[in-house]
Symmetry: C2
Subunit: 426 residues, 2 copies
């Protein structure tokens, strides 16, 4: 006997979990499609050279990398961004730019498994490639806003910043050479607080005055996007960063969504490859879940693979976090994840009966399971209950049926198929 | 510069292809769900021991198998049946039986790439585990029938047989020890014809008389399921195989679908693990595509991993073949795969305009792309045309809009947003 175990950090998805994930994915997909974003797919396995690029270090150590039977150095993809870059370079002549794509798929990382961290997990990316302007920045923000509004996750704030602002500010202080260190320190703000950031800044060699200036820069009031922007313009003058943000803000106002955005100079998105706007999204009532939608603008996405200059802007939805929020809120995306609405009990004498009744109910648009097991009525009801099925058709008299409602145990007789369809779908 | 190549036998999916695949998958999923079948997911990577079981030989050679960073012998799954067996054994106490599941996902095989054969491809399996009776056999056949009817692939025939029939027939001839050889020979019937099969049977040591008996057995008239069954009952008497088929045939008649099934004793499904009914499906007008839905009953699915006896019956849809048929037929599943229905042209002076008009159209249920590039009107129309977008909103006067229909180049002025929605969705 072989133990039916899965690898550490890998998971089976039970039907109840998988139904929720698929409900969510199809809802998100519908929204992406309503914006004219299209799906793509790329191989799970690629040449290591392609995935790793000039990289190495951490990424290399985390990859599932091996030599295939043909002696090729290959690896499982660890994100969907590197494959996107490779994809647009490889298929450049067959794509229309600006290219708006989404990609929901699995990625693999050999990280040390810990609570909430897995070696195989889903990513949901959406990006717009081939253009660098305020409209494309804004459209990604609008798409984030639309997703979260349609999901009815309650109030949320998208915090936006622009990498150019901090760069300019540090230049003004004459410490542009400390850019990476300052960025890395600020990125830890939520974890270690203002004092913690200050300590790191001092360790990195900033003087007291410079450290305080940086701290005051990331603490600019952020109640209203326009007010924060005014402060920044006064502080830094008109620069590409503030000009871009002003254009984006105009579009937010034109679309009536500016109230859900804040301009937050403490948003940096770590040391990622972002070069323009960056953003994170917190649910107002569930900030502890963390950002459920983050991203930013990057230049020269595919520079490793092509001479074409391909700027882009994109984002990803943290699906596990979003599912946690939807569960907390009792969202229909979670609660509608039933197996079927009606079950037809089995008839030992006449198995054709349950199959044909179920077929007729399906033709009326009712999701109908037909019990095919050999167990008695009591266990059939238990099966229905375990599977979230609400009504069980137990018997037929002439053209009408007896139906048991599982929640109340109430049996109603004399129902037509149309009556049952109304019960199930109404 | 790194060449953006993919591995041999692996493919990128372009948006147009991916839209079709996702349309098809969501349609199939809807049908599975209407039957109370539920989705599951399993890891792409598993312990080699778990995937290989007692196997070895061909399967072993075809696996993407390697040692991970933790020294574990692991491999990418090569089908969805072995993971199902492992899954039901591992999650037995959390599942309801009879367990009806579907699984649409990728599998990997290091086969020699050739036309139509890839090293990474999608599988779409549906199985019912935990029961061995005629009703469950029939329900899988009904589900196949429903899928193909709903897809509107034209006329089709599901050819059904039962492994027990040939076994019994060979016992009658006193050559039950040649079962595997005869099965393997018959399985080649479509490729090599009757004479070819006869030759192999003789090579395998059957006498002329026995070979002719086998050939006449697999050539029993198959115009009508009931007639063929009568012949078989006369020939073999009542046996478990004919009794099961008779019960299934009764259910076909009760559901009014018997005309689309034939009983074909030449169907064997090769040397697979099937133990009861087996079936294949051909499209009447496109037999050259091959079987687009095959499967059968197997006993003791998970015997390698658990002491529970878990019989099952299942099938898989050949998605690439089905897509080929749908393309040939000009199915809406293929032709509806447009990026969006409407595009709002860009306005250099007022980018907020296109974004806000697009937002309003989406709120009316119109899939609307907003052009975010920097190109002139001519290239914007080309972008719309390349992406299958039918209407372009070019300008606004008061509350009405100018709209160009891409197919006819006709511009209509004075349309309200509601008019545009009617054009796009009507």
């Amino acid at each position: 006997m072989i133990e039916p175990r899965v690898l550490k950090g890998f998971r089976d998805s039970l039907p109840q979990q998988e139904l929720v994930r698929q409900n969510l994915m199809s809802r998100i997909q519908q929204i992406f499609r309503s914006f004219g974003f299209v799906p793509i797919d790329t191989p799970a396995l690629e040449y290591t050279e392609v995935l790793l690029g000039k990289g190495g270090g951490e990424t290399d150590k985390q990859m599932f990398r091996f030599t295939d039977n043909g002696g090729r150095d290959v690896a499982l993809r660890f994100d969907l961004t590197v494959p996107l870059a490779r994809y647009v370079a490889a298929n450049y002549s067959q794509l229309s730019f600006p290219f708006k794509r989404y990609h929901m798929s699995k990625v693999w990382r050999g990280e040390k498994p810990q609570k909430g961290r897995y070696r195989e997990f889903w990513q949901c990316d959406f990006d717009m490639v081939g253009v660098d302007n305020a409209q494309s920045d804004f459209e990604i923000l609008l798409l984030i806003h639309t997703c979260l509004s349609e999901m009815k996750v309650g109030a949320f704030k998208v915090s936006v910043s622009h990498r150019g602002l901090l760069n300019l500010f540090l230049s003004g202080l004459g410490i542009e050479d400390k850019n990476a260190e300052v960025l890395r320190a600020i990125d830890k703000l939520n974890k270690i607080g203002v004092d913690g950031v200050r300590e790191i800044l001092l360790e990195e060699g900033l003087g007291d005055a410079a450290a305080d200036m940086v701290l005051s820069f990331i603490s600019i009031p952020k109640d209203n996007f326009g007010d924060t922007l005014d402060i920044l313009v006064k502080m830094l003058g008109n620069c590409p960063g503030t000009e871009r943000l002003a254009q984006i803000y105009d579009m937010m106002k034109a679309c009536g969504i500016d109230g859900d955005f804040i301009l937050d100079t403490s948003i940096t998105r770590g040391l990622d490859y972002y070069t323009g706007i960056v953003y994170e999204t917190l649910l107002t009532d569930m900030p502890q879940i963390g950002s459920i939608c983050s991203g930013g603008r990057y230049n020269n996405l595919a520079g490793l693979y092509t001479k074409e200059n391909l700027p882009g802007v994109g984002s990803c939805i943290g699906m596990d976090r979003l599912i946690a929020a939807l569960e907390e809120l009792g969202s229909p995306i979670v609660t509608d994840a039933s197996y079927a609405d009606v079950m037809v009990a089995s008839s030992k004498e006449n198995p054709a009966w349950s199959e044909s009744v179920a077929m007729k109910l399906r033709a009326l648009g009712v999701r109908t399971d037909s019990y095919v097991g050999e167990k008695g009525m009591g266990q059939q009801f238990a099966y229905a209950e375990n599977n979230g099925i609400r009504f069980v058709v137990t018997a037929q008299t002439g053209d009408t049926f007896s139906v048991k409602e599982i929640a109340t145990r109430k049996v109603t007789e004399g129902l037509t198929l149309a009556d049952i369809a109304k019960l199930a779908n109404g």
